[in-house]
Symmetry: C2
Subunit: 459 residues, 2 copies
């Protein structure tokens, strides 16, 4: 009953460890079996986090094969790979045969190919084929995240027969909450929810064909995983069936995979916005050279863009020599433009991602950003004017700052809001390194605007 803070849970986990170790030492069969079955499998896995791989495996032996797989899927990815590579091949093969098909394929991707070669012949033929089939789908598609354990039933079944069939298969299925009705060639004909079955318990001879919803929200096997996730979220589904070109049912994507996809995509978007190419691994596990490359290539592009600022500064060198104080405010002005631009870009990017803004709204977005830009620019300009007066002791000089800030900030919000819209219009990802790029554009524009206004007032 762990609804306390996670710190509390970690403490408990650590407290529990000596007890598990003691049971292992005493080969306390009964105690270990009790430990494996008493808790939610995810909780059991959490409690084992402090054990070394060999110990974990010895504990798992006391759970039946199905439960063993259930606990195993909650270990972290590295431990899973480690156990698969290090433990007895036959035992590992038995475990793999019990894992959900989609998790299994994800996992085997990171296992040493030499080990996989030894494991494959030990797997039942059906599982072996299933693995090879799922591995064939391209990354980030519905096919790559779907599972093949799904309840497919013929439409002639009655409610009673369907429930019995479900009961028989229930341990092997990833979800029993939707039954998919297919014809003899596996074409998807409809869907019946467990809720509908249960509500017809009073009329157990009703046929599925009478109950089923024949308007099924489905995903194509080649659909992008992000689109699949969006569809599941839109229609509040627990799972979505995946079909091929001929509407044959291949598998399902379940709600937990959708949550994983959404997390992954949110992280990738955040990285792209900050000009980091998406990592394939977690931050700590990415090799330093890869990490540097994924950042360095964008930094280099931004650096080349930034070189234009040096040319702009050189171009306006004479006025800066004449009025030395002009250079003092350059960083302040260009960063104000960059910040207001990044804010606008982020707002538009997130609104595009959630669907709150579409390309058709471009005029409204630009109009809003123009007005917001004028307000923000006016506000910063007022502060800048007071600051300028204090430092420069000259109304005539200080007035340059508010005029510049008003224009620069407005240009910033306009650039920031337009860039993601233009990228989307071109069919590109609106998140593409947009914040630093907006800042780079505003650096150049900021210098030009500032110097032009200064020349206007001073010369």
């Amino acid at each position: 009953m762990c609804f306390r803070s996670s710190a509390w849970c970690t403490m408990i986990n650590t407290l529990y460890l000596p007890e598990i170790r003691e049971m292992l030492e005493e080969e306390d069969e009964l105690g270990l079996r009790e430990f494996c079955t008493a808790l939610h499998p995810g909780r059991t896995a959490d409690y084992m986090a402090g054990l070394d791989p060999g110990e974990r495996w010895r504990v798992l032996r006391h759970a039946d094969p199905f439960l063993r797989a259930q606990i195993f899927i909650y270990f972290d990815h590295d431990s899973q790979v480690g156990l698969i590579e290090s433990q007895d091949r036959q035992e590992v093969a038995d475990l793999i045969a019990n894992l959900p098909p989609d998790d299994r394929v994800d996992l085997l991707e990171d296992v040493d190919p030499a080990v996989i070669e030894e494991l494959m012949p030990l797997l039942p033929q059906e599982e072996r084929w299933d693995i090879l089939r799922l591995q064939a789908y391209p990354e980030d598609t519905a096919g790559a995240i779907m599972t093949s354990d799904v309840a497919k039933l013929p439409e002639t079944l009655t409610v009673r027969e369907a429930l019995n069939e479900l009961g028989r298969q229930s341990q092997d299925l990833e979800t029993i909450y939707y039954l998919y009705v297919v014809d003899e060639h596996d074409h998807l004909r409809g869907v019946v929810s467990a809720r509908q079955l249960v509500s017809r318990l009073g009329k157990p001879d009703t046929r599925l064909v009478e109950l089923m919803e024949d308007d099924v929200v489905a995903a194509h096997v080649a659909d992008d995983q992000e689109d699949v996730a969006r569809k599941v979220a839109r229609y509040n589904l627990l799972a979505i069936p995946v079909v091929d070109d001929e509407y044959r049912m291949l598998g399902i994507v379940t709600h937990d995979d959708v949550i994983d996809v959404m997390r992954e995509e949110a992280t990738e978007d955040a990285h792209r916005i900050a000009a980091v190419a998406p990592l394939e691994d977690t931050y700590l596990k990415t090799h330093l050279v890869t990490l540097s490359w994924k950042r360095g290539m964008w930094l280099a592009i931004l650096f080349f863009t930034g070189c234009l600022t040096a040319f702009a500064m050189r171009h306006y060198s004479s006025i800066q020599q004449q009025w030395v104080w002009l250079a003092w405010f350059v960083p302040l002005i260009i960063s104000s433009g960059g910040n207001s631009g990044s804010q606008a870009a982020t707002l538009v990017i997130t609104a595009l991602a959630t669907g709150d803004v579409t390309l058709a709204d471009w005029y409204q977005v630009v109009r809003r950003e123009l007005l917001v830009g004028v307000m923000l620019g006016g506000f910063l300009g007022a502060i800048g004017f007071v600051g300028g007066l204090i430092v420069l002791h000259s109304f005539h000089d200080a007035i340059i700052l508010p005029c510049t800030l008003l224009l620069v900030v407005t240009c910033g919000t306009m650039t920031g809001s337009l860039l993601p819209l233009v990228l989307r219009r071109l069919g590109l990802d609106p998140t593409l390194m947009s914040n630093p790029f907006v800042a780079a554009v505003m650096d150049i524009l900021g210098i030009v605007i500032y110097m032009r206004i200064a020349m206007l007032f001073l010369e």
Copy 2:
């Protein structure tokens, strides 16, 4: 069977509209009823998107009250509020009584209070109390997103009795996939999944107490919604029970609400990273003054920080007058520091959010960022050196650029990675305006480093 692109779906929706309008004109009872029932309720709502509120309401009248509510929840929020405020009070009250309790409370928040005052007396007493109770929970807590429609059953029930009870209640429940077992005082004792019930169909006299999992993963009513979402994701749950201090069961949070929370939080994080205070409404619906305020307050803070750059520039004014070309490279150098810092900050923030990095990893993070910073700084320095040589025609002058870039970029990655860790350590949100703030710090640091190195080489 809409697994084509959404553009295709929009087209179909528009094509369908004249037909619906015609049916409304001809008062085609049968056709409209068929339209309401033939499709997934979400799909039906999508098809109605082009109708005006009055037309929508007239179509909905042809669905039975339960289905009417099912279709209604897929309308967009504004249309929902509009319909509630504009249509016949008694009909609206009947609809509200059929909505899921959590959606209902969210919705009523945005309805004109005068309308609510008229509606409340028309609602059944039980619903009225439920609304008042749910409204009392603070925003962003488990209490605020939970629903009270949940299957609570006594532990003495048998599988057969439980299934019958479920069948009886199934239309009113938000989910039937978990049954929560409670004692006579509503204390949560355990959970039984529909899967378990179905697998025991052969032994219908088994009591729930024998089947139930008594280690229930639960959320406390005051828990932050983000923690609740994380728990559901961690344990692959379809729903999580919400309990009070005494472990009395108050409601459940279902998977679709978890997906909404995760989306909302991802958007808020992206906004905070770019120094925009989270919006309560969507981008297009937020009032321009609110939008300006949520950005302006952070821009002002960044502007005041930015003023320090003006003082730094003034401080090093004499050397810049002596060596005019020094100023040319200021924007390029400070933006390189800012960009490398934003990259590091974003990577650490997302890794903290997904749990890939914890505070305990701080040493490893800092060590990695130091090495990456040296690599990236060396890389940009090399480009900068070549560029400097071309522009300045002097090895002695150009060498200042690579030395500066190496140091500034390394400081950038260190600052960017440390700031979120420090914010988290202080119990603050690591996303707090971190990217622009890192950039602001690097603007100042960049100028100081650049000028110090220039003085070293030139004087």
